[in-house]
């Protein structure tokens, strides 16, 4: 699955859609782009303490900074049965936006 994104016409930065200018260089020359959904876990945490709200029943669950093959960084959920086995460098692929604010990845292997 591709990820709705923008690409900067000046510096080439790819970023999830929603920004008005390029967050790396400030350029206004940004165009809509379909970013590749493959990437790896750059860093992560297993969120265990969720006393209330929509993630209460999901905990413990993985929040990660994902770095895609096009060097796009985004904060996302990584859906896995074994959250405590997650590690930096694990390959992941984009599944979908579960709601407009929540991108979800899954382990690629």
């Amino acid at each position: 699955m591709n990820i709705p994104a923008i690409k900067c016409g000046d510096c080439g930065t790819v970023h999830p859609r929603g920004v008005a200018v390029c967050p790396a260089c400030g350029s206004e020359k940004i165009q809509e782009y379909e970013a590749k959904g493959e990437g790896e876990i750059h860093t992560y945490t297993v969120n265990c303490f969720v006393p209330a709200g929509k993630f209460k029943d999901r905990a413990p669950y993985v929040i990660a900074v994902v770095r895609t093959v096009e060097n796009m960084f985004l904060t996302a959920l990584v859906d896995t049965e074994s959250p405590f086995n997650i590690k930096i460098g694990d390959k992941v692929r984009f599944r979908h936006y579960e709601d407009p604010l929540t991108p979800v990845f899954e382990l690629a292997s």
């Binding site: 970023h15 750059h42 709200g53 900074v65 991108p103």
Partner: protein
Amino acid sequence: MREVYIVGAHESVHGNRRDADLRKLIAEAAIPAIKDAGIDKREIQAIYLANYNANQFNNQNTLAALAATSLGLPHVPTVRFEAACASGGVAFRQAYIAIAAGIYDTVLVLGVEKMNVPLEEADADMQLQWAKSGVDYRYESGVGMNGATMFAMFAHRHMHEYGTTREMLAFSASKNKYHASLNPYAYKQREVSVEKILKSPIVATPFSTQEVSLITDGSAAVVLTTKDKALGLNKKMAVKVLGSGHGGGSFSVAFRDSHVTMRATVAAAKEAYSMANLKPEDIDVVECHDCFSFTELMNIEDLGFVEKGKGGWFAMDGHTRLGGKLPVNTSGGLCAKGHPIGCTGVGQIVEMTWQLQDRAEKRQVKNAKYALTHVLGGPGAISAVHILGRSDL
């Protein structure tokens, strides 16, 4: 630029202060700070107040004006500063600038936060939402991001790149619990062993419940004034503001130039050291923003006290403990003294003022001449660093 001095400092007891509303907290810090300064409160020309989120925690906006009125100073001009967890450091800097520029002679800087509110007023979910509204709502709130998860991700990356361990984090946290055990103003005044910290339930890996900042009610106040006025009041007890720095970093946890160093801290420190004409090795005692156990290790690297990646080893060698070569967070820091968000940066200034005045009692660092304070707001988005020195040097 005129020289600026701290002439009065005080803070409230930190904790779950069921006995104290915003007015009481404001009075508990401000009135003793003004008395400590030895001035008439009518000499205060402006009140700069740091507060993160009274509008949601307490249904109260425009808190600086409320503070002035509740202190019997309704005609004093006021402003509230919000910079997430850096609010207190930023408010202090703005007061410093106003006096240095000659706009005012005497300013009261107040930090206050009342985070523990009765649950009939707010259910637990809303309380969490308020505490974490300092993250980018559009890009990072949807995954359940909060302070713990963002700094947990920085910690894991640091562990991956430099070999920092959970034991190092716990060791540093245990050191700060010890410091808090000596501080009558701290929320949790008891020692906690490294073993207990490691065995406590996990909040967000790698942090246990003993490694996270506390939901705290508290207040702190300092009186800032000019050199002429300070030295006329009480020469020995005045503390000089030697350097002030304010740095910026990305507001995104994901999209930033580094996940192991906070550019905002590095920039703020550079500005402050340069203004003070001092180097990291000149500093005798530090209060830095240890919102989580790991954060202190990253901070002491970013502030230039130790090479990048070596913070954990520096802590394990005992250097950051009272009696070590660079005591850090003698107050107990944010995980033990507590973290009333807007108050924290002002509270750090109070602790360092007391250290430089030889008034820190059981926590006193001998012969402390130069002190440094550091706050960090959002995901390393805002930092303020101040360097203070004894006025008799």
